[in-house]
C-alpha cells in the first residue's frame, strides 16, 4: 500500500512493522507509551503491542541504554528512544564503553542488536539542548554504526533495517524534517529496499559534489536547484550512513566532478566534514580542483533559537561554498 506520509509517520510505520515481525523487538524510552513520544513517533504502538513491548521508562538515559544492553544479552532487540539529542549524554558511558565494545570484549560471543533512536538537529526554534547534532561523537567510536535518514522512504526502510541488523546502531532522525511528506510503499519487502549502509546519489550532476545527510539533504537539493539556474550542475549525495561511510560512491563522484562541498549542522571542528575532506583528499588528490570545503555549524554552543537561522547552513552558504570551490 503506497501512502503519502510524513517522515515521522514513516518511522512510526517502520517501528510497527518491526514489532509485528519479531516478538523480540521492544521499544523503550521516556514517554513512548500513551503519549507516543514527544514527537509522536511511537504513537499508538503501546496501545497495540502492550506495555511490555513499548515501555515507558524511568527518566534516566543511562538506565535506558544500560538495561537495553541486558535485554539484548537475553535475546531481545531493544529500540531505545532518546528524547532529544542533548539528552543522550547521560547514556554516553553506556554507549561508548559498553554498547560499542561488548562484541569485541566477548570475542564475538555477544551481539547487541540494539538501536538507539535520536531526534537530532536544529531549526525548530527550541531551547538549549534540543537542537544538537552529536553524530561525530558516535561516528568516532569504533563498534558503533551510525545512520541517518533524510526522507520518509528511507525513514521507513532504514529503521527496519537497523532493527534487523545485529550491529548496535545509532539511528539519527532529522527532527526538523519529521513533518515533511513523501510517498512510501508500506508493503514493499524490506529485502528490496536500498541497502542500509549505502550512500545514494540523490541528484546526479557534473560540476561539483555536495555531500549532505539528514536535515541538510533538503538544503543541498535546494542549493542544487538554485545553482542550476546559474548554469551549475551539482551532484547531491545523501550519505545515509555516517559510520561506516560509503566511500566508493563518494570517491567516484568527486573524481568525476573535481569539487566537493560537505554540509552539516554540527560544529565543523572534528565533524563529519573533517573526515570526509581528509579521505576525499587522500583518494582524489589529483582530481581535486579545489580543497573540499565545509559548510557547517560554527564552533560555538548551539545558540538561542533566534540566532539559529544564522547558525545553520542554508542554501546561500552552500552556494557561497560552491562559488569558492569554483574560484579556488
Amino acid at each position: 500500500m503506497t501512502e503519502t506520509i510524513t517522515l515521522g509517520k514513516a518511522v512510526n510505520h517502520g517501528l510497527r512493522r518491526a514489532l509485528e515481525n519479531d516478538p523480540k523487538v521492544v521499544i523503550m524510552g521516556e514517554d513512548v507509551g500513551k503519549l507516543g513520544g514527544v514527537f509522536r513517533i511511537t504513537d499508538g504502538l503501546q496501545k497495540d503491542f502492550g506495555e511490555d513491548r513499548v515501555i515507558d521508562t524511568p527518566l534516566a538515559e543511562a538506565g535506558i541504554v544500560g538495561t537495553a544492553v541486558g535485554l539484548a544479552i537475553r535475546g531481545y532487540r531493544p529500540v531505545c528512544e532518546i528524547q532529544f539529542d542533548g539528552f543522550v549524554f547521560p547514556a554516553y558511558n553506556q554507549i561508548v564503553a559498553q554498547v560499542a565494545k561488548m562484541h569485541y570484549r566477548s570475542n564475538g560471543a555477544v551481539r547487541l542488536p540494539l538501536v538507539i533512536r535520536i531526534p537530532y538537529g536544529g531549526g525548530i526554534g527550541a531551547v538549549e539542548h534540543h537542537s544538537e547534532s552529536p553524530e561525530a561523537y558516535f561516528a568516532h567510536t569504533p563498534g558503533l554504526k551510525v545512520v541517518t535518514c533524510a526522507d520518509p522512504v528511507d525513514a521507513y526502510s532504514m529503521i527496519q533495517q537497523s532493527i534487523t541488523s545485529d550491529d548496535p546502531i545509532i539511528f539519527l532522525e532529522p527532527k526538523r524534517r519529521y513533518w515533511e511528506k513523501g510517498t512510501v510503499d508500506l508493503d514493499a519487502p524490506l529485502a528490496d529496499a536500498f541497502p542500509l549502509h549505502a550512500a545514494r546519489v540523490t541528484r546526479p550532476g557534473t560540476d561539483a559534489t555536495i555531500l549532505a545527510y539528514g536535515p541538510m539533504v533538503r538544503v543541498a537539493l535546494d542549493a542544487a536547484t538554485a545553482a542550476a539556474e546559474d548554469g551549475r550542475d551539482l551532484e547531491v549525495i545523501d550519505l545515509r550512513t555516517l559510520s561506516p561511510v560509503d566511500y566508493p560512491v563518494i570517491v567516484e563522484s568527486v573524481r568525476r566532478t573535481g569539487r566537493a562541498v560537505v554540509v552539516h549542522e554540527a560544529p565543523g571542528n572534528l565533524g563529519m566534514g573533517a573526515e570526509l575532506a581528509a579521505r576525499i583528499t587522500e583518494q582524489c588528490f589529483y582530481h581535486l580542483e579545489a580543497p573540499v570545503l565545509r559548510v557547517t555549524g560554527y564552533d560555538v554552543p548551539y545558540p538561542a533559537a533566534r540566532l539559529e537561522e544564522e547558525y545553520l547552513p542554508d542554501l546561500d552558504r552552500v552556494l557561497d561554498a560552491v562559488d569558492r570551490a569554483f574560484g579556488w
Binding site: 503519549l35 521508562t57 524511568p58 538506565g63 526554534g125 531551547v127 538549549e128 545558540p303 538561542a304 540566532l307
Partner: protein
C-alpha cells in the same frame, strides 16, 4: 493574627505529609513528625497577606506567559500552575544569603527572591539561553538537562563549608530544585551521595507534581520519594506542596539545619502539575480530567484565601487589589517581553570562551564578511 484554630498535629497526618493549612483553609497549629521535629509558622497578618500576594502574582505572571506563548511570542513555556505554594513557600523560606539552583519551572521561586520576573524570558523567547549572573542574584541559571543542577548545588554547598560559612544562624545554605522524574537520574542520586558524605549545607527540594511529562510517579518509584534520603544518611520529609505555610515551615527548618551544620535534607513537596508539561505538551493523551478536577479542590490559593477570609486577615478589597496589581504587573511584563530585541546575529559568537578563541574569532570575521557580501545586493 492569633494562632489559627486548627488542630495541633502530633504526627504526620493521614495525607502522609506535613500540612499546616487544609484544602478548606483550616489552620493546623503545628505538626510533629516521627523524628520529633515540630513544624509551625508564626506569621503576622501582613506576612500572611504577602504570601497570598505572592501566590496570586506568580500565578498571574505565569498565565501571562502562557498567553504570550499561545500568541507565538515565546517559543515554549513551562507553566508552574498548581505549584505556586511549593515555590512561594520554599522561596520565601530562603534567607538573603542562601543560594538557589532551579530547574526550568521555578518562576515562582525566582519571583520571591526579588528578581525581575523578566529574567527567564530570554530563554523562553529564544533571544538568549537564559543567562544572568547566578552570584549576583543568588539564583543559578535555569537548567534544562534533568538533574544536572543538583550536583552543581552540592558543589556550591561544599564550597560554603570550605569557606567556613556554616555552623551558625547566619550561615549560608543552598536549595536545589528538581522534579519527581529527576529522582531517577544517576546524577541526582550522586548528589545525594556527595551531600551525605560531605555533610553539605543543602536542601533538596523535590516538587513531586505527579508527572514527568506523560509518565506518572510510579514510573520513577514504588515508594514515596522522601524515603530516598534515608539510604544516604539524611532526613527526608514530605510536605503538602499545595500548602504554602507548610512548604515554608519545612523548608525554613531544613535550610536552617543546613546553615547550622546539620547537613542535607530532602523535601518532597507533594503537589500537582495542573497544566500541560510545557506549552508543547498535550496532557489529554495520558491523564483523565477527573484527576485534574480532584486536585482543583486542593488549590493552593483558594485555601489561603479561605483562611484569610475566615480569620478576617483580608477582605474583598484586598483580594481585588491583589488581583489588579498582579494583572498590572503581568501586563507590564508582557510589554517588556514584546519589546525584547532580537539579538544581533553576530552575537552568536560571543561568550563561547571566557578568554576567547582564535578559531571562533576567525569564524566571526568570516561571518561578518559573508553578511556584508549581501548588503546592497538586494539578497
Amino acid at each position: 493574627m492569633a494562632k489559627g484554630e486548627g488542630t495541633t498535629g502530633t504526627d504526620i497526618p493521614a495525607g502522609g505529609f506535613v500540612q499546616l493549612l487544609t484544602p478548606d483553609g483550616d489552620r493546623i497549629d503545628s505538626v510533629t513528625t516521627a523524628d520529633g521535629t515540630t513544624y509551625t509558622v508564626d506569621f503576622t497578618d501582613e506576612e500572611y497577606r504577602d504570601l497570598y500576594r505572592d501566590l496570586v502574582t506568580v500565578r498571574r505572571l505565569d498565565a501571562e506567559a502562557t498567553s504570550l506563548q499561545r500568541q507565538g511570542e515565546l517559543g515554549i513555556w513551562a507553566s508552574l500552575l498548581g505549584q505556586e505554594a511549593a515555590q512561594v513557600g520554599s522561596g520565601r523560606a530562603m534567607r538573603p544569603q542562601d543560594m538557589g539552583f532551579p530547574t526550568y519551572r521555578e518562576h515562582g521561586v525566582l519571583y520571591t527572591r526579588g528578581i525581575d520576573p523578566i529574567m527567564p524570558f530570554g530563554l523562553f523567547r529564544g533571544v538568549d539561553q537564559g543567562g544572568w549572573d547566578p552570584n549576583e542574584f543568588k539564583f543559578n541559571s535555569y537548567t534544562i538537562v534533568i538533574g544536572s543542577q543538583t550536583l552543581h548545588a552540592t558543589g556550591y554547598a561544599m564550597g560554603i563549608t570550605m569557606d567556613g560559612r556554616t555552623g551558625s544562624a547566619d550561615g549560608e545554605a543552598v536549595i536545589a530544585y528538581f522534579g519527581d522524574g529527576a529522582t531517577s537520574q544517576g546524577e541526582v542520586n550522586e548528589a545525594f551521595v556527595w551531600s551525605g558524605v560531605f555533610n553539605a549545607p543543602i536542601v533538596f527540594f523535590c516538587q513531586n507534581n505527579q508527572y514527568a511529562i506523560s509518565e506518572p510517579l510510579e514510573r520513577q518509584t514504588r515508594v514515596p520519594l522522601y524515603l530516598r534520603a534515608g539510604g544516604y544518611g539524611f532526613p527526608g520529609v514530605r510536605v503538602d506542596g499545595n500548602d504554602v505555610l507548610a512548604s515554608y515551615a519545612v523548608t525554613r527548618t531544613a535550610l536552617d539545619n543546613a546553615r547550622n551544620g546539620q547537613g542535607p535534607t530532602l523535601i518532597e513537596a507533594y503537589t500537582y502539575r495542573m497544566g500541560a508539561h510545557t506549552s508543547s505538551d498535550d496532557p489529554t493523551r495520558y491523564r483523565i480530567a477527573s484527576e485534574v478536577e480532584s486536585w482543583k479542590a486542593k488549590d493552593p490559593i483558594s485555601r489561603l484565601r479561605a483562611f484569610l477570609t475566615r480569620q478576617q486577615v483580608a477582605g474583598e478589597d484586598f483580594f481585588t487589589e491583589t488581583d489588579e496589581a498582579a494583572t498590572a504587573l503581568a501586563l507590564g511584563l508582557r510589554e517588556r517581553v514584546l519589546a525584547m530585541p532580537d539579538p544581533e546575529p553576530v552575537r552568536l559568537f560571543d561568550n563561547a570562551y571566557p578568554n576567547g578563541s582564535p578559531e571562533v574569532d576567525e569564524q566571526r570575521r568570516e561571518f561578518l564578511a559573508y553578511q556584508a557580501s549581501f548588503e546592497g545586493s538586494g539578497h
